[in-house]
């Protein structure tokens, strides 16, 4: 019996380890071909650890710890580390690639067709092998003259040596060469992108499948000095913080930049920039008020309804409960859009029903109130659901005992039901607080942060930290992931501190009631 059990377990383990090893073997060639050495190292290390832990008879505790630890590393620690790393760079729109890539993109983008130069009818040809043989161009100019071009230059080809298409003049046969068809040309795309026939002051490049033009590069990079020169104006561009800046003091920059380390610049921007620092405290205050009021109102309404429906002799309890859960069942973003249109001053439902003329989302306090009202509607069913469950878990003997001792219903609720309820619900209230703290959709879809104070579009009066951050990072000149990472690290620390304090309080609560 005993040996059989071990054998069974080992068999499952073998399958598991086998799967892991198979996955690694599958991944290794791909990672090698992509030169992803770090990923390769991680894959090998993880596989080795798993093999050791699950095949060694001694590491029993580790077998239970390792899955959770690996997942924690992959889904919590790695993103945080990556965010921290990004916060020290200028990564974002215009700074997405390496300097080498940026240089080659800039040079490629700078190729212009020589003004007034003719277009050639092109036949791409090769020798020996269609897929690997050397590439040559057979070029027919508008006068019908044929030349053969390779990486050394042009050679005239007498008409007698080739057969031309009578309409276009394109070379269709050249003895000793294989003329590639469209699909074969396309298959050589990688070589064609670097292939050019040098001519006086420029080069001939292919465009499409059967055309070529004389191009000139207007930007030239010097690797030694790292200077990019505009060949038409002679202006030199020097690298500075991930961008080529004109050395003539005009402040002009080249369009493509690269990703580079900028040290503490992003953090400094958060701390010193008045448009970020100024409204930060106001936004933080509203965020805290929004999150805590949302929790309080939803909890109060949810608990109140739960208590009201908790009466054992109430008829139709289930129907009421199901109806109350409806807002929870609708997709939140649809509800938010419907509420947004209900708040419309001239065409909205609310003003028509109430016969009022209130600019709900246009005034500071009405907008804040509207958000809280909508959030209450969205959030109370959850609290109602939780409270209903918890109320049923409060032992009825305790309540009866209190009543026998002469306590009023209010007193029973305050001294027996509520404390027992709080033990269960306190962690959920904290979770709900953290959720609302980052409730981007609610703000984005209802007010988008508005109304904004005059002359300031970075921080609206209903912006919470997350919507404010989003606007700072993505509302300027494209996406600025570096700055976004720095701001989110600040928020991460802030939310972390609040949660830490909150959980300490709950533990204190639990100890009090457990005693």
């Amino acid at each position: 019996m005993h040996s059989e059990r071990i054998a069974r377990v080992s068999w499952m383990r073998v399958v598991f380890i086998g799967a892991v090893v198979a996955l690694t073997i599958f991944a290794v060639p791909r990672l090698v071909s992509q030169h992803a050495w770090i990923a390769l190292g991680v894959a090998v290390a993880v596989t080795a650890t798993l093999i050791y832990v699950y095949l060694s008879p001694k590491r029993i505790a580790a077998r239970y710890l390792i899955p959770g630890t690996l997942l924690l590393l992959a889904f919590q620690v790695y993103p945080v580390a990556y965010t921290i790393g990004t916060a020290f760079t200028n990564y974002g729109d215009g700074h997405r690639m390496s300097q080498t890539q940026a240089v080659s993109e800039l040079e490629a983008d700078s190729v212009v067709e020589r003004p007034g130069a003719p277009r050639y009818e092109l036949s791409v040809a090769t020798k020996d092998s269609v897929s690997t043989g050397p590439i040559v161009f057979f070029l027919t100019d508008p006068q019908g003259r044929v030349e053969r071009g390779d990486s050394h230059g042009l050679t005239a080809v007498p008409d007698a040596q080739v057969t031309k298409d009578p309409d276009t003049g394109k070379v269709v046969r050249a003895p000793g060469w294989t003329i590639l068809n469209g699909i074969q040309v396309n298959a050589r795309a990688a070589q064609l992108s670097t292939f050019a026939v040098p001519v006086e002051g420029g080069f001939i490049k292919s465009v499409g499948l059967s055309e070529a033009f004389i191009g000139e590069r207007t930007l030239r990079y010097d690797v030694a000095t790292q200077i990019m020169t505009d060949t038409r104006t002679g202006v030199a561009y020097r690298p500075k913080a991930g961008t080529f800046v004109a050395a003539d003091g005009s402040g002009r920059v080249l369009p493509i930049g690269w990703k580079t380390d900028v040290g503490l610049r992003n953090f400094a921007a958060v701390v010193t920039d008045p448009s970020i620092r100024g409204p930060f405290l106001r936004v933080l205050a509203w965020t805290v008020a929004f999150a805590s009021l949302s929790v309080l109102t939803t909890f109060a309404l949810g608990l109140g309804l739960a208590l009201a429906l908790d009466h054992p002799r109430l008829r139709g309890q289930r129907i009421y409960r199901s109806l109350l859960l409806l807002p929870y069942a609708l997709p939140a973003f649809i509800s938010l859009l419907v509420w947004q249109s209900m708040y419309n001053k001239d065409f909205g439902l609310l003003n028509r029903l109430l016969q009022t003329d209130i600019d709900w989302l246009g005034g500071i306090w009405t907008a804040r109130g509207s958000i809280l009202l909508t959030n209450l509607w969205l959030g109370f069913p959850y609290m109602f659901l939780v409270c209903t469950g918890l109320l049923q878990s409060v032992p009825s003997e305790l309540k009866e005992a209190a009543r026998v001792d002469g306590a009023s219903s209010l007193r029973v609720f305050r001294s027996v039901t509520m404390p027992l309820l709080l033990v269960g619900i306190a962690p959920l209230l904290i979770a709900s607080f953290a959720y609302n703290f980052n409730s981007y959709n609610t703000i984005k879809l209802l007010t988008d942060g508005g109304p904004f104070p005059p002359g300031n579009s970075t921080a609206g009066n209903t912006d919470i930290l997350i919507s404010y951050t989003f606007r700072l990072a993505f509302g300027g000149q494209g996406a600025q992931y570096g700055l976004a990472a720095a701001i989110s690290l600040f928020i991460f620390m802030l939310v972390g501190l609040i949660s830490f304090a909150g959980f300490r309080r709950t533990r204190a609560l639990e100890e009090v009631y457990a005693a």
Binding site: G94, A108, D109, I183, L209, F213, I256, G455, G478
Partner: protein, 435 residues
């Protein structure tokens, strides 16, 4: 019998699998000869519209477009594929195509061609994701000059334009006179219709709580305002911000006069969600919108006319933004020769641009195609006329720093804020973001 049928099934399965595998391997980078599957000329079906987009690896040409345009392009891609013996796949990216394209292209998983508006060009270029397309001089001259200008950036043409779009004025001809000569006349007509209980508001021009600089632009231009000044070569200069310039401030004062605190023609309660439906349901006699509103208005069955947005009395004509839809070839295209062939020599054909118009009614960017279309479709001709004084929607990346602050200033002025200081505030913020 049973054994035999299962044997046949197993054999078929193995053969199919082997074929499928060989089909896959024939798509690797070192493919020598055209494989039978790629020569079939039938495009692969479009990818599902949801989820993270990844490039379809099994075809010779991959095109990414938004979800509305995908079925249309699918047909053209198919005929191009059949003519050239290749396979094409058109993939619909339903959410935020531009940033999905930039991210995928930088990761080496992007398409060969992407379709989008020309105000993307600045961002696509600064991220090194699109390559210049050397149109011949003759091809360039065949396009509407503004369409060509819209795809030109830093002196290079980056796209092949196929349709133009701009704002115009829709009139419900049962409620008010069409084609009013000035903005003031239009407001008078509209207010008369409101007085006569034919309508509830004189004009639907979307503002919303956050403002809408695109929709208000025709009137900005009429008052002499501009967002970015131009360099000597006619391209936009991010250093010349005109948002707090005299023309823009003059416009802002008019915006305030027709705002909620006085004439109440511009309202924040009219936004992108309700503007067209207010007009289509007959509640307003005038609407400022683009060709995308046509289907809804036609469906509503009201009598309408399209005319240029009127300028202010004694000022210049309205200057709507001219947007152009264009095809771009990726700088990381795996099939660059075919992609260039498709954009430069197929999409620039008159019959193709006309067919694209039939699938989606916008003025074609190719002059000869437009001339043909305008003869039969008065709406398209009217939109084209409405765009005659238009200005090219800026392609420079700095434009993305403009929309937010400018819109908020616009909404604030409509709501009663001081025009000059609101514009100064917006200008200060844009200048800081542009750097």
């Amino acid at each position: 019998m049973r054994v035999r049928s299962s044997l046949i099934f197993a054999t078929t399965a193995v053969v199919t699998a082997a074929l499928a595998l060989s089909g896959c391997s024939s798509n690797s980078a070192t493919r020598a000869a055209p494989s039978s599957s790629s020569a079939s000329g039938t495009p692969a079906p479009a990818a599902s519209a949801s989820g993270v987009p990844t490039r379809d690896p099994h075809t010779d040409l991959v095109i990414w477009t938004d979800a509305q345009r995908a079925p249309v392009l699918q047909r053209f891609a198919r005929s191009f594929a059949a003519a050239n013996g290749i396979s094409v796949s058109v993939q619909a990216v339903s959410t935020d195509l531009q940033s999905a394209y930039v991210t995928a292209t930088n990761a080496g998983k992007g398409p060969d061609i992407v379709v989008g508006a020309t105000d993307w060009i600045g961002n696509l270029v600064q991220n090194g994701t699109i390559a210049p397309l050397p149109l011949t001089q003759a091809q360039k001259l065949a396009f509407e000059p503004t369409a060509l200008k819209a795809v030109t950036y830093n002196g290079q043409t980056y796209g092949v334009p196929y349709a133009t779009e701009n704002l115009a004025l829709f009139t419900n001809t049962a409620e008010a006179t069409a084609a009013p000569s000035t903005f003031e006349a239009m407001v008078q007509n509209g207010q008369a219709a409101v007085k006569a209980k034919k309508a509830s508001d004189p004009l639907a021009l979307q503002v919303g709580q956050q403002g809408d600089p695109y929709t208000i632009q025709p009137l900005v231009g009429s008052a002499g305002g501009y967002i970015f000044g131009t360099k000597a070569d006619g391209t936009y200069d991010p250093a010349k911000l005109g948002v707090d310039g005299p023309g823009f401030v003059a416009f802002a004062k008019l915006l305030s006069r027709y705002g909620e605190k006085s004439e109440n023609v511009f309202k924040r309660s009219i936004d992108a969600n309700n503007a067209v439906s207010l007009f289509a349901s007959g509640k307003v006699p005038y609407l400022v919108s683009g060709p995308w509103a046509l289907p809804q208005i036609k469906q509503a069955g009201i009598k309408y006319a399209v005319s240029p947005v009127p300028g202010f009395a004694g000022m210049g004509p309205a200057e709507p933004f001219l947007g152009v839809q264009a095809f771009y070839v990726s700088s990381k295209a795996k099939n660059a020769p075919i992609a260039q062939e498709f954009t430069l020599n197929y999409l620039t054909r008159k019959d193709v641009e006309e067919a694209l118009y039939k699938a989606e009614p916008r003025p074609p960017a190719l002059t000869s195609a437009y001339d043909d279309v305008a003869k039969t479709d008065p709406d398209i001709a009217a939109f084209h006329t409405a765009g005659e004084h238009g200005v090219v929607l800026p392609q420079i990346p700095a434009m993305s720093a403009v929309w937010g602050p400018l819109g908020i200033a616009e909404a604030a002025i409509v709501g009663g804020a001081d025009p000059a200081s609101a514009m100064a505030g917006a200008a200060a913020q844009i200048k800081k973001a542009v750097g």
